[in-house]
C-alpha cells in the first residue's frame, strides 16, 4: 500500500516535470509569434505595410531568391550526384567542407565573399578588368544567398542520391542505360521528393539571408535591400513597420512549411515502394 502511494507520487512528479519543462519552452517559442501577429492591432500593421520600403524589398527578395534557388539546383544537382557516387576519398572531405557555410556566422560568409569578389578582393581585380564588379549590386545579393543556401540543397541531394538502391542503378546500367539516362530517368525521379524538400529549405534560407548580404551587397533601398534588411532599417523608423515586414516573411515561411508537409508524403510513398 505504501509502495503504491510512493509510486503514484513519483508518477505525479514525473508528469509535472515533463509538462512544466516542455510547457515553458513551448510558451517561449509561441509567445513571440503571438506578439508579432497581435501587437499594435491590424491598423498599425496595415500602415506599416504601406511604408515606402516594403514593395521594393519584397520585389527584390522574391526575384533574387528565385534566381538563387534556380542556380543552386542547376549547379547543385550534378555536384551532389557526383559526390554521392564518388568512391574518391577526397569527396567525403569536400562534402564536409561544403557544409561549412551552414555553421559559420553569415557575416563571416559576407566578409569571405568581399575578400574574394570585392573590388579589392582576391579575384576582384580580375573581374573588374572584365568589366564586372559584383559587390554592392543585386548580383551580390544573389551571390550571398547562393553561398549560404546551397549547402541545404546539396546535403539533401547527396543524401537522396546516396539512399538510392545500388542494385537498382546496377540493373539500369546493365540494361544499357547511358549515364545521362541513368540520372534523368532513374535517379532524378526517385530522388525527386527529397530534392524538392532540399530546394525548399534552400529557398527559405535564401529568403531569410541577412548577414552576408549586408556585408557583401550593402543595404540600398530598391537595389540591394531585401526584406530582412528592410526590417532592420524599418526598426529605426517605426517598430510596427518592422513588424509588418516580419509578418510578410513569416507568411512566406508558413506557406513553405505547408508545402513541405504536402511533399513529405512523397518520400514516405517512395520509401514504401523501395522497400517492397
Amino acid at each position: 500500500m505504501k509502495q503504491t502511494v510512493s509510486h503514484a507520487r513519483s508518477r505525479r512528479l514525473y508528469d509535472t516535470a515533463m509538462v512544466g519543462l516542455g510547457g515553458i519552452l513551448l510558451l517561449f517559442l509561441v509567445l513571440p509569434f503571438v506578439a508579432l501577429v497581435f501587437d499594435g492591432g491590424p491598423e498599425a500593421i496595415w500602415r506599416g505595410l504601406g511604408c515606402s520600403l516594403t514593395w521594393p524589398a519584397l520585389r527584390l527578395s522574391l526575384a533574387t531568391t528565385l534566381v538563387s534557388v534556380v542556380l543552386v539546383v542547376v549547379g547543385g544537382t550534378p555536384l551532389a550526384w557526383w559526390l554521392a557516387r564518388s568512391r574518391w576519398r577526397s569527396a567525403r572531405w569536400l562534402e564536409i567542407l561544403l557544409q561549412l557555410p551552414v555553421v559559420i556566422p553569415p557575416a563571416v560568409g559576407g566578409i569571405a565573399l568581399l575578400l574574394a569578389f570585392g573590388r579589392r578582393g582576391l579575384f576582384g581585380g580580375a573581374l573588374e578588368r572584365l568589366g564586372w564588379t559584383p559587390a554592392f549590386s543585386a548580383v551580390a545579393v544573389v551571390m550571398a544567398q547562393v553561398f549560404v543556401s546551397a549547402p541545404f540543397y546539396l546535403q539533401a541531394a547527396v543524401q537522396a542520391f546516396g539512399r538510392l538502391d545500388p542494385s537498382l542503378l546496377a540493373v539500369a546500367r546493365s540494361l544499357g542505360a547511358s549515364p545521362p539516362r541513368l540520372l534523368l530517368r532513374v535517379a532524378l525521379p526517385l530522388a525527386r521528393p527529397w530534392l524538392i524538400g532540399g530546394a525548399a529549405m534552400s529557398w527559405a534560407r535564401a529568403l531569410g539571408e541577412f548577414g552576408a548580404t549586408l556585408m557583401f551587397a550593402g543595404n540600398m533601398t530598391g537595389k540591394t535591400q531585401t526584406l530582412p534588411l528592410a526590417i532592420y532599417t524599418a526598426l529605426e523608423l517605426d517598430i510596427h513597420t518592422a513588424q509588418a515586414l516580419s509578418l510578410l516573411l513569416v507568411s512566406f515561411a508558413f506557406a513553405l512549411l505547408l508545402f513541405l508537409r504536402r511533399f513529405n508524403r512523397g518520400p514516405e510513398v517512395a520509401r514504401r515502394l523501395a522497400t517492397q
Binding site: 538502391d165 546493365s174 540494361l175
Partner: protein, 266 residues
C-alpha cells in the same frame, strides 16, 4: 557442342576488393553454371566484376568473341555496353514505373529509333509472352514475387542480352512463390540458351536451374563439375552440407578447379 557458334562467357580475373582477394577462372556455354559457397566467398563480387561494377587488377572477360575486360590491353567496357542481363535478388524493378514502362525502359536504352508508342507496343508483347500482359499498367511494387520475377526477366531480355546473371533468384520469396519462380526460370533458361551464371544458397535452385556447379571458397574455386559429380565428391564442407552429401568433403577425385564445360565433361 564445339565450335564458335556456341555463345560463351569466359572469365579469368584476379581482384583485390578491400581485405578480400578474388581469383577465379571459369567458362560458361550452353550449360547454366551455379555458383555456390558460403557468405563472403565472393559470389556476388564475382557477378559485379563480370558486370563491370568492380575493377579486377588482372584478367580477361570475354563474351561471345567480344572482350569486355582485358587488363593487359586496358579494355574495360562500361556496364551499359556489356549486354549482360543482371537479375539481383531484389530484382531492381523501378518503383516509379509501371510494369510495361519497366520493360519499355530497356527498349529505350538499346534502340533510339523506336518511338514511345513502338516501345510500349513491343514491351506489351514481352509481357504477354511471359503471360502477364494484364499487369502492364500495375506498379511492380504491388505485385507478387512470381509476377515481379516475370517482369524483371521480360525487361532483362528486352535489352537483348548475350548472357544471364542471376543473384539468388528465389531467396526473398515465400515457399509457394519459390516453387513457381523456379519452374518458370528453369523453363526460360532452357529456352534461351544464353550463357547463364546463377548465384544461389539453395540446393533446389541448383538442381532445377543448373547443370554445372562451381564451389567458391575464399574467393577461389574449390571445385567445379557436373552437379552429379559435385554431389558425389563435394570439394568443401559447405558443398557437402548444401547437397546433403554423406561423403567426406575433398575425399574423392574432385572435378578440376579450372572450370570449363570441356573439363567437367571428362
Amino acid at each position: 557442342m564445339t565450335g564458335a557458334s556456341v555463345a560463351r562467357l569466359s572469365v579469368a580475373v584476379e581482384a583485390v576488393l578491400g581485405a578480400f582477394a578474388l581469383d577465379v577462372s571459369l567458362e560458361v556455354g550452353a550449360e547454366p553454371l551455379a555458383l555456390v559457397g558460403p557468405n563472403g566467398s565472393g559470389k556476388t563480387s564475382l557477378l559485379l566484376t563480370i558486370l563491370g561494377l568492380r575493377n579486377p587488377a588482372r584478367g580477361r572477360i570475354v563474351l561471345c568473341d567480344e572482350v569486355l575486360f582485358d587488363a593487359e590491353t586496358a579494355i574495360d567496357l562500361p556496364t551499359e555496353e556489356r549486354h549482360l542481363a543482371y537479375l539481383p535478388q531484389d530484382l531492381g524493378l523501378f518503383p516509379h514505373l509501371s510494369a510495361v514502362e519497366n520493360v519499355a525502359f530497356a527498349l529505350a536504352c538499346r534502340s533510339q529509333r523506336l518511338s514511345a508508342r513502338q516501345r510500349r507496343d513491343e514491351a506489351m508483347t514481352w509481357l504477354e509472352r511471359f503471360g502477364i500482359g494484364q499487369l502492364a499498367g500495375r506498379n511492380p511494387a504491388r505485385l507478387s514475387g512470381g509476377e515481379r520475377q516475370r517482369i524483371a526477366l521480360a525487361r532483362a531480355l528486352a535489352s537483348s542480352p548475350k548472357a544471364l546473371l542471376l543473384d539468388e533468384p528465389t531467396a526473398s520469396l515465400d515457399v509457394e512463390a519459390r516453387v513457381e519462380v523456379r519452374a518458370f526460370l528453369a523453363e526460360s533458361i532452357r529456352a534461351l540458351g544464353l550463357p547463364t551464371i546463377l548465384v544461389t544458397h539453395d540446393a533446389k535452385d541448383v538442381e532445377a536451374l543448373a547443370s554445372r556447379v562451381a564451389v567458391l571458397e575464399n574467393g577461389r574455386i574449390a571445385g567445379c563439375g557436373l552437379l552429379g559429380d559435385i554431389r558425389q565428391n563435394p570439394p568443401t564442407s559447405f558443398a557437402s552440407k548444401l547437397f546433403d552429401s554423406s561423403r567426406v568433403p575433398g575425399a574423392g577425385a574432385i572435378a578440376s578447379p579450372s572450370c570449363s564445360e570441356d573439363v567437367s565433361h571428362k
